[in-house]
């Protein structure tokens, strides 16, 4: 199974935007996304332990909902850079089925070209991806059990 190209339109947009920027501008681009994400209200009541993703240098919350069989994610962090990164992840990979999500790999994360922003953040983004895949699968199983 491959993911239909139009489903990754937002991801492709990030890739294209980042591709033409130098390292320094990428840094500011991510901060920009983080700041803009600040204004798309993430429900305050969801910044709780239940939605917290563990094991990061800053706090990351991700909420998941389903529209038909598609997963919609929203993310939040107390650090702006991380908020930018989690927004890119949730923006890129919302709208996919859990089967499609399972096809998203490290290569996609690498494709964003954030390598210069240190490995650790790339590792953090892989953790976010795994967390999103898990949330999607859990929701699917819960629905099937209903």
């Amino acid at each position: 199974m491959t993911i239909a190209a139009e489903k990754l339109a937002q991801y492709d947009e990030y890739v294209e935007a980042l591709e033409i920027l130098d390292e320094e501008s990428r840094f500011e681009y991510i901060i920009d996304i983080g700041k803009r994400a600040d204004k798309t209200a993430f429900p305050a009541e969801c910044m709780d332990d239940a939605h917290l993703m563990h094991g990061c240098m800053s706090k990351v919350w991700i909420i998941h909902s389903r529209e038909n069989d598609r997963s919609i994610f929203r993310g939040q962090s107390d650090a702006i850079i991380v908020k930018g990164l989690v927004s890119m992840m949730t923006g890129s990979f919302s709208g996919l089925t859990s089967g499609e999500l399972a096809e998203v790999t490290l290569d996609h994360v690498r494709g964003l070209n954030l390598g210069a922003l240190t490995m650790q953040r790339q590792v953090g983004m892989m953790a976010m991806l795994k967390h999103m895949q898990k949330l999607s699968l859990q929701a699917e199983r819960a629905e099937a059990a209903d």
């Binding site: 390292e23 840094f27 901060i31 850079i81 991380v82 922003l117």
Partner: protein, 426 residues
Amino acid sequence: MNAIGQPAGQPTRRAGHNIEGGFDVERIRQDFPILSRQVHGKPLVYFDSGASAQKPRAVIDAMTEVLENEYTNVHRGAHYLSQTLTDRYEGVRETIARFINAPSENQIVITRNTTEAINLVAATYGRKFLGRGDGVVVSTMEHHANIVPWQMLRDEKGIELKVAPIDDTGALDLDAYAALLDGNTKLVAITHCSNVLGTMVPAAEIVRLAHDRGIPVLLDGSQAVVHSTVDVQALDADFYVFTGHKLYGPNAIGVLYGKAELLAQMPPYQGGGDMIASVTFEKTTYQEPPHRFEAGTPPIVEAIGLGAAMDYVSAIGMEAIAAHEKSLLTYATERLMAQPGIQLFGTAPGKAAILSFIQQGIHPFDTAATLDREGVAVRVGQHCAEPLMGRLGVDGTVRASLAMYNTTAEVDTMIRALERARTLFG
């Protein structure tokens, strides 16, 4: 070998404001090859020596020399290489003993790091001499390495962990500490210097108060040994532990100093080669300390490297290093506090050159990421001291830890980077 920063008796090369008392920081910097590299196109400003310090050429050369010319196993061969390297390896024990003024090299146990040294004491001394209901006193500002081994012993033996508090400057509350020594307390295990706050505890006083009640004391010297002259006899410490990699030496080597009568009573830590006197399937007898506690092939090359690091530090002089760091700390503190919205954690008098802070309204991670863009390496987060973060009421801090090779110009770079963080995130 031309590797010492400031050989005694040589004229200092003028390098601006950083020369004081014959301490020429520019010359020292030339001894550390990594300091001339760039990060993100900017000169590296290494303010993370509290996590691990950089290595001078003298250490790199000493280790390379062993690998190229002298390498073999120690304690095991009848051949030339083995005998010469065994002599060198055992010679390092004497260097270590001299460095902390231990009475004998036989009281120096070589470990992997501080963490293993504390685990060793907990697993041998602790298991043998501590039992249900016995208290171990630690402080609020311990590194996890000096918390978790005691908690494991608590879970295994039912000992009790007692925590000596700090005040708002980060100084140890000595009265509260003394009060904890009554009753069931059987051991004190406390940091000599906080890796987060820089606080130097009054170690001799801590030991004296405990000894008045017959309680032995372990001091975690991981940070203290880097920033101050440590004399285990003057401190009268029962155990003193530290790690090589923060002391400009290699990683994977640490030190446990113990009083001879305590080490003599302690059972082995791990079993295997090197720690035995004789083995039959019926009965094995163990070596005397320190070898009893060193099972298996030791960190040979690392030991040579640590010896070289101690020689390097000694040749420059700990007093000179401490004086340089003190003036750098004063400068950095003044510049930092002149910035708007800085919250500094740890202001106890006599503290070491460690600055933990946050920029108000900016997440420490965002601050640290901006510093990184400017080539400034700091640590961010809880610094392996989660209980202390709870006491400070924060999730984490930015930590700039300064070392002998840092300069006021580097502090200026950090301050400019903090200004940029304020522009970006403020």
